[in-house]
């Protein structure tokens, strides 16, 4: 934390903080809404992992694109989808970013480069590579980012997608969010080598680094290098982020048995938001007042988003089969 990223201004630092808090507060409300039965479908929160989306997406332009996972609210918010649109979508409303068609695992907002969260593990890696192919073919300097969990690493999509991006030198940043578990299956049981970056360097000849995924500045710095490289036409890279999910796999699921209370507690102490907050204060990069102002602003935004979502209309049933094709038959 100390040496790196001295170049970031207070505004930039607070912006990172703001993104993390925005994700946290939005999801806290969504979790509550889920408990109250207002979120009709599944809801996988990103609580504890916010530093990754915040650190990566701060390096992206609006016309860069992100391909996300089942745990994608953080990616969506960090990429610029409004909390209103995210909340409304989870509540199943017509004003949601997918007009109620998608829900948590199918958030789409191409206007700001959010090319979809996903109910299927794996495809984000392939599609991320494909967007890189488009940008390279079109001679654009846009960059593509694919997020995925440790659970996707053993999947064929990882092998095929990373390799294609490597051999064709595509402008893609692969971000592996290793939170140690895929649902309740530990990563250590899914592989004999959990060092994803090492594997990617050796097997695919791709630049790859491993960072503390709970350290937003470490993520930000690695992403800056990777995005700059991709934008300059120097090919893909992978960032392995070691992190931890602080809530159950999905809202409403039990969280016992597969991980110890001690383990969860040890990671709770490393909460990326609390850690960053105290660092900002210790390093005098922001004062309490500034931080409080951010918290307050976010609280208002999130309250408004939930109100917006709750008061929005449900989609018109007559539209259930719209948009299957580009022009209606």
């Amino acid at each position: 934390m100390d040496s790196h990223e001295l170049a970031l201004s207070s505004e930039q630092l607070l912006a990172l903080y703001r993104t993390m808090v925005l994700i946290r507060r939005t999801e806290e409300q969504l979790a509550r809404a889920h408990q109250m039965g207002l979120v009709p479908g599944p809801c996988h929160t990103y609580v504890g992992e916010e530093a990754i989306a915040a650190g990566v997406c701060a390096n992206l332009r609006q016309d860069d694109v992100v391909f996300s996972t089942h745990r994608g609210h953080g990616h969506a918010l960090a990429k610029g989808v409004s909390a209103r649109e995210v909340a409304a979508e989870l509540l199943g409303k017509a004003t949601g970013c997918s007009q109620g068609r998608g829900g948590s695992m199918h958030l789409f907002a191409p206007e700001v480069g959010l090319m979809g969260t996903s109910g299927i593990v794996g495809p984000s890696i392939l599609q991320g590579a494909g967007a890189g192919y488009s940008f390279k073919l079109l001679g654009s300097d846009r960059v593509s980012v694919a997020f995925f969990g440790d659970g996707a690493v053993s999947n064929g999509a990882f092998h095929e997608g990373i390799n294609l991006a490597a051999i064709w030198d595509l402008p893609v940043v692969f971000v592996c969010e290793d939170n140690m578990y895929a649902t309740e299956v530990p990563f250590r049981e899914a592989t004999r080598n959990q060092n994803v970056a090492e594997r990617v360097r050796v097997s695919y000849g791709m630049n790859a680094v491993c960072v503390d995924g709970n350290d937003v500045l470490a993520v930000h710095e690695a992403a800056k290098v990777a995005v700059t490289q991709a934008r300059a036409g120097n090919g893909p890279s992978l960032i392995e982020c070691k992190t931890y999910r602080l809530r159950p796999h999905a809202e409403g699921m039990r969280d016992g048995g597969y991980r110890t209370v001690d383990e969860v507690e040890s990671w709770r102490k490393r909460d990326p938001i609390a850690t960053f907050r105290s660092e900002l204060l210790v390093n005098k990069q922001a004062d309490e007042a500034a931080i409080d102002a951010v918290e307050e602003e976010v609280t208002i935004i999130v309250a408004d988003a939930m109100d917006f979502g709750r008061s929005s209309p449900f989609p018109d049933p007559a539209t259930a089969a719209d948009f299957i094709f580009s022009a209606q038959d």
């Binding site: 109620g100 794996g122 449900f314 989609p315």
Partner: protein
């Protein structure tokens, strides 16, 4: 008779057979210690350990292909895929390997492999967790496809799957999992290819698949009070499909409707309609009708999800139309 849930019934058949047949093993994400996302293997890990209850990474193609090789060499794998949409990543193994191994080897290699898990629309699971896909497995030669609609059928069909030598797709509609029903304690089998005539009647035949069955039965009771007697048939397996039972019924009633939650085009209803056309044309007093879910990916929002599958009004309307033709 004792009442247990659909999931318990299928699990009981699995537990009974695992106790008898040491070559049975189960693979899937979370089917080990955790007992399965849908409790399909609850309590079995403690008895049989990790070689027979094998938690896997998220590699649907990998473990389906792995189980293919296992089935070829003396064991009996059960792929517990959780949600059927996930095994689309293994269709190459399913359609090019599993369904063809017995044929390619001229019958010298058997393929006792079971694929089991959830399917269907409900609970705002949205389009990556709401698929059905069974018509594809009817189109491709080489599969048995079981669609139990009651706890009783779940147990009996599961046992048939676990004691046969062919690949079986065993699909459990997510809205049926917690339904309770009478299930004998002892082991029993329900042969594949034997439809159940769940209700007798002479005025029209309705073929109802999986989750549609209870809706159709309820509506039939309503119509009975109006004097119309509906014969309700549950095919229970769609490969093989017991067309004879359907033809017999149509011979009696002259009218046929097929109610199926999943897509119409090239679906089960199309196949049944074409078969009855070919083998029972002269029995028909009215055109055969199909009632299917809307031909669309599954939307998330309840107001959308609610209208894409045949509901009470739609089914009742379709039956009334059929009777009026």
């Amino acid at each position: 008779m004792r009442e247990i849930t659909y999931t318990e019934a299928a699990r009981e058949a699995l537990a009974e057979q695992m106790a008898i047949d040491p070559s049975i093993f189960v693979v899937g994400e979370g089917i080990g210690e955790r007992g399965g996302n849908f409790n399909t293997t609850l309590g079995l890990y403690e008895k049989y350990g990790p070689m027979r209850l094998r938690d896997t990474p998220i590699v649907e193609r990998g473990f389906v292909g792995m189980c293919t090789g296992a089935a070829m060499t003396g064991t009996r794998p059960v792929v517990d895929f959780m949600i059927v949409d996930f095994i689309l990543d293994s269709i190459g193994e399913l359609f090019n390997q599993i369904s063809k191994i017995q044929y390619m080897s001229s019958g010298r290699i058997k393929m006792p492999l079971i694929l089991r898990g959830c399917f269907g629309i409900g609970g705002a699971a949205a389009t990556h967790h709401s698929g059905s896909y069974y018509p594809l497995f009817v189109h491709i030669p080489g599969f048995r496809v079981a669609l139990p609609s009651t706890p009783y059928d779940a147990k009996g069909l599961m046992r048939t799957a676990l004691t046969g030598d062919d690949p079986v797709l065993f699909l459990e509609h997510k809205l049926l999992l917690n339904k309770r029903g009478h299930v004998p304690e002892e082991a029993y089998s329900i042969p594949f290819g034997q439809a159940a005539v769940v209700r007798s009647g002479g005025d029209a035949t309705v073929v109802a698949l999986t989750v549609m069955l209870q809706k159709v039965l309820a509506i039939s009771e309503e119509l009975a009070r109006e004097g119309a007697e509906i014969e309700v048939i549950d095919p229970r397996t769609v490969a093989p499909l017991d067309i004879d039972t359907i033809l017999e019924s149509v011979h009696k009633t002259g009218r046929l409707l097929i109610v199926d939650e999943t897509f119409g085009p090239c679906g089960i209803g199309a196949e049944i309609s074409a078969l009855v056309m070919e083998n029972g044309f002269d029995d028909l007093d009215a055109p055969i009708a199909r009632l299917n879910g809307m031909h669309t990916p599954t939307p998330y929002s309840p107001t959308l999800e609610g209208v894409i599958t045949p509901d009470h009004a739609a089914i009742a309307g379709a039956i009334r139309n059929l009777l009026a033709e």
